[in-house]
């Protein structure tokens, strides 16, 4: 840290003016919009749920902007490049998880009307204790999800200004977003995130069209890689892949290097690896689809809709907006494999395949236009981690200011005091996220995101699903299922990470955990992708414990279910609030 001056001086050579310029403009516009919207965010409701008056179009773009993180913008292209077909499950399930949200959760949740998920947790079970448990999970998942965003920020800045240390990017981006959130709250960031969605869409699509015009269409890119059933590729292309790159037939076909890794390291034959790879694929699908439907920072957005009908329409538009976006990253991956294979030799991170999107236009097109296009993709990457981080910060800060301070610590505080605390907690959470971001330089972006999804899929998703559709669920059942399911999955994932990380240390003999997993590919698969057993475990616990504690089902459960399911035109919500005045709903 003390050598930052010399580092900056060294860094100043080799900076590309276009790349720096476009990225700087993105950051400056974000700050400017934050200040502008700070003037119009006045009430507590503006801060927590954007005055609950965001139109469908704006809200859909804002949700999409928040959702498309650094993992989506850079990580997926990198994974498709390095793992091939199997990695396409990520964009598909990221997009399709919204369908589950729409079918089972979006409408009821909005009708129930609350500021945050902990509000729902307390309101549904009449239990202040459950609010506390829910708050812990919001913070937990939130911090897990911020780490990869911070890492993306550090790496991208190191690409823009070569030689700049990792921590500078983390601190700079973290500070900008924290300022924005503290100034404008939810209403402030809604507008910013909506604009950032369109910037990302532009940044991922326009350069790709130029590249396709140069190299030929999507189909042609895939024709350059033969499938296992073709002896020679239909079009013979001279491409020399580095030794680290997967072979064509592994790259194009399902059950490739990613899903069959546990079985492969156990030394099984390719034929014997396939059942494990199929299991891995299914578990990954469950984690991603159900995890999307349980991410707290996405769920909190549904409360910004004016009503349940708007909540459904918003989800529809979100699926279209992110679906169109997700068509592009796999295409980038294919382009990267065919035209920039030297990235396979890099280490993980921006120097490796994760940097495809940033580097490919510069290298492939060359000249000023190549730099302009790389500048555009860099701006998109900045928009990606800034918008996701600001959304996370709002949901974590909301949980602290609204649930911990406003409900638990000082229930009698005035709205003005809560708004002041919102700003204080924004700074606290922002600082915490920056500190965590500094610790994760060595981890892969998508792996980190995977943790957050595994926890969300096995804790919040079963809770929300059962609490909206099953009257018999009790607080004890919901809490037990959520805690045991969530933590068991997390523990399983962490054991595989520990086994891998220890093995990387040179000179240390292979640790017992790693050799155990090597002998048991089935256990390794299930530990790396825990959702396929974690979700049933969590649901079973919720049902069994709820049956055992039947007596504690809230007495007005029928009214609660009516509020969740009856059309809003019937006005049951107002009636419910009147009957529960002062009960904390």
């Amino acid at each position: 840290m003390f050598h930052s001056h010399t580092l900056l001086a060294e860094a100043s050579t080799g900076i590309d003016p276009y790349i720096l310029g476009f990225s700087l403009i993105t950051v400056l516009i974000t700050i400017w919009m934050g200040f502008r919207s700070a003037k119009s965010s006045k009430s507590a409701s503006d801060f927590f749920v954007a005055g609950r008056s965001v139109s469908v179009g704006w809200n859909a773009a804002a949700i999409s902007g928040e959702y498309l993180s650094a993992a989506s913008f850079m990580g997926i292209a990198g994974m498709v490049m390095s793992a091939g077909y199997d990695a396409i499950w990520y964009p598909v399930c990221y997009a399709c998880g919204y369908l589950f949200l729409l079918l089972f959760i979006a409408g009821p949740l909005r009708r129930f009307g609350a500021y945050t998920i902990p509000d729902f947790a307390e309101g549904r079970f009449d239990s202040p204790l459950f609010r506390k448990i829910a708050v812990i999970f919001v913070l937990f998942i939130g911090f897990f999800y911020t780490m990869p965003q911070m890492k993306g920020a550090g790496l991208a800045l190191a690409f823009i200004i070569p030689g700049l240390p990792y921590w500078v990017g983390v601190v700079l981006v973290g500070a900008v977003i924290t300022l924005n959130v503290a100034l404008g709250g939810m209403k402030g960031i809604t507008l910013i995130q909506a604009c950032q969605y369109w910037l990302k869409m532009f940044a991922i699509s326009i350069p790709v069209f130029v590249l396709l015009a140069v190299y030929g269409g999507y189909g042609k890119q895939l024709e350059m890689n033969k499938t296992p059933h073709e002896v020679v590729a239909p079009i013979v292309v001279e491409k020399t892949l580095p030794a680290k790159a997967p072979k064509d037939e592994n790259w194009t076909s399902p059950f490739g290097p990613m899903t069959s890794k546990p079985a492969k390291s156990a030394g099984l034959t390719p034929e014997a690896q396939r059942p494990y790879a199929l299991l891995y694929t299914y578990s990954l699908i469950v984690a991603l689809v159900c995890g999307t439907a349980g991410l707290p920072h996405i769920l909190v957005r549904f409360y910004t809709n004016p009503d349940g009908v708007a909540a459904k329409r918003t989800t529809m538009w979100v699926m279209i907006l992110i679906g169109v976006f997700y068509l592009f990253p796999p295409l980038w991956g294919a382009l990267g494999r065919n035209h920039m294979p030297e990235l396979y030799n890099g280490l993980a991170g921006v120097k490796g395949t994760d940097g495809t999107i940033l580097r490919l236009p510069q290298k492939a097109i060359g000249g000023v236009w190549g730099n302009v296009l790389s500048g555009i993709t860099c701006a998109g990457a900045f928009a990606a981690f800034m918008s996701t981080f600001s959304g996370l910060l709002v949901s974590m800060t909301g949980a602290l200011a609204h649930d911990v301070y406003g409900r638990i610590l000082r229930p009698n505080s005035t709205p003005a005091e809560r708004m002041k605390m919102f700003k204080v907690f924004a700074v606290v959470c922002g600082a915490g996220a920056i500190l965590l971001g500094l610790c994760v330089e060595g981890f892969e972006i998508n792996k980190l995101v995977g943790w957050a999804f595994a926890i969300a899929a096995t804790s919040y998703f079963p809770l929300l699903f059962l609490a909206t559709w099953w009257r018999g669920i009790t607080m004890a059942g919901a809490a037990t299922g959520m805690l045991i399911g969530g933590f068991a999955s997390l523990a399983a994932v962490v054991t595989t990470m520990v086994a891998d990380q220890l093995n990387l240390v040179e000179g240390v003999p292979q640790n017992a955990l790693a050799s155990f997993y090597k002998l048991h590919p089935l256990l390794r698969t299930l530990a790396e992708q825990p959702a396929i057993w974690g979700l049933p475990l969590s649901i079973t616990l919720m049902i069994v414990i709820s049956k055992a504690t039947k007596a504690s089902i809230p007495s007005d459960v029928r009214m609660k279910m009516l509020v969740l399911h009856a059309p809003e035109a019937l006005g049951l919500k107002q009636e419910y609030i009147q009957e529960h005045q002062g009960a904390g709903h």
Partner: protein, 106 residues
């Protein structure tokens, strides 16, 4: 912390608050959601099965794409949009029916 209300909420005896209305409400909504989820799940879980049991079929080239890639990386998205569009159309119609029914029997 606010104390949970100890007083019992007032009893209602009209149709909107009846067990029968809530039951039909949830049943109809859940039926629609499950039907849509089933259509989605069949494809979602079917693709890996096809890849597993019919690898040669899924590897054939269509417009240069291996079929498995075309289905998952491109066609999957419009398919999900159709399901969600159908769901929203039907669930809005369902809500209107429910409101009409509730108000006519008030």
């Amino acid at each position: 912390m606010n104390e949970p209300t100890t007083k019992q909420p007032p009893e209602h005896h009209d149709f909107i608050h009846s067990e029968a209305f809530l039951h039909s409400l949830m049943k109809r909504q859940l039926k629609l959601s499950i039907a849509c989820a089933a259509a989605f799940t069949v494809l979602l879980l079917g693709v890996p099965l096809m890849n597993y049991f019919a690898p040669a079929f899924m590897a054939q080239r269509v417009f240069g794409f291996p079929l498995s890639w075309l289905v998952l990386g491109v066609l999957f998205f419009p398919f999900v949009w159709i399901i969600s569009w159908q769901f929203i159309r039907r669930s809005l119609r369902l809500e209107n029916d429910e409101v009409r029914e509730a108000q006519s029997r008030k």
